[in-house]
């Protein structure tokens, strides 16, 4: 039995010594963030499932093969693998063809994935789905910084290195991504009286902190 409070580093060490339970804890701890980040890049849940699997297979091979080097942390390390795979896929495919059903809905929106099993309120599902749409609608640079920082857990310095910009630019993009997202969510909620019966909670972003005009 593995203690849930163990650090990633401790879990990797146990796994290197053949403890499968340790790997299971690592997988359960990080699968959601990595999967979400891949999905937001490739925009298709089946592809995201495949790439998640490929990411972990590469990680398993590296750790099992004795090539894992504990210089950084586990999550940023495996996130780099996932990010590279997702970006490679995105570049190859550019856009995955969308299958539209007779009623006009898109195929992947109608599928029953694991997420739906524990959530019983459709309105919350719709709100979350809307949120993912808004993330995907963000300007590319903002969206990528947001995915890399929030879901892949990369530091701003690493993001700056990987995207070839200064750390201040990466921070600025993240800030505008969050502000834009917040504005869109509040606007969406204002129309969703069932979920937010109290009405609109106004976003107050001071103008000198990026409020006012929407910046791309």
């Amino acid at each position: 039995m593995i203690e849930q409070g163990l650090s990633d580093s401790q879990l990797v060490s146990l796994y290197q010594n053949g403890n499968e339970d340790a790997f299971e804890v690592l997988l359960y701890r990080h699968k959601s963030k990595i999967y979400t980040a891949i999905y937001l890049i490739v925009k298709d849940r089946y592809t995201a499932e495949d790439l998640l699997q490929e990411t972990f297979v590469k990680a398993i091979n590296t750790i099992r093969g004795g090539r894992y080097n504990e210089e950084g942390k586990f999550l940023p390390w495996i996130s780099r693998i996932a990010h590279n795979l997702a970006i490679d896929h995105f570049r190859k495919e550019k856009r995955y063809p969308e299958v539209v059903l007779e009623d006009g809905s898109k195929l992947f929106n109608s599928m029953d994935f694991a997420e739906e099993s524990s959530e019983d309120k459709q309105m919350f599902r719709e709100t979350r789905s809307k949120l993912r749409d808004y993330i995907r609608e963000l300007p590319e640079e903002q969206k990528h910084v947001l995915i890399m920082r929030h879901y892949f857990d990369m530091s701003f310095q690493e993001i700056a290195n990987r995207t070839g910009v200064s750390i201040n630019t990466a921070l600025g993009r993240m800030r505008y991504a969050l502000i834009n997202l917040r504005k869109k969510m509040v606007k969406h909620r204002a129309y969703d009286k069932n979920v937010y019966p109290d009405g609109l909670d106004q976003v107050f972003i001071p103008r000198d902190y990026g409020g006012g005009e929407e910046r791309n």
Partner: protein, 68 residues
């Protein structure tokens, strides 16, 4: 003064204390902080879970490499 680095714990102790103090005295900064916190909470809500079969496949692959 960077709230983003503050919220992601990428600052020194000294910078943290400085922002803590600023949040107490600067209403505009506090308002921005609240909005960014709300956006971050939304991001967590947007997270998806992979299917059980994908998780099962990964675990199975790992077990298949276990020395007999």
């Amino acid at each position: 003064m960077d709230l983003i680095r503050y919220l992601y714990h990428e600052i020194t102790e000294e910078e943290k204390n400085e922002i803590d103090r600023a949040l107490k005295r600067d209403g505009k900064l506090k308002a921005l902080y609240n909005e960014i916190c709300a956006a971050l909470k939304d991001l967590d809500k947007a997270a998806l879970q992979p299917s059980a079969s994908t998780v099962y496949n990964i675990l199975n692959y790992s077990k298949s490499l276990q020395p007999k």
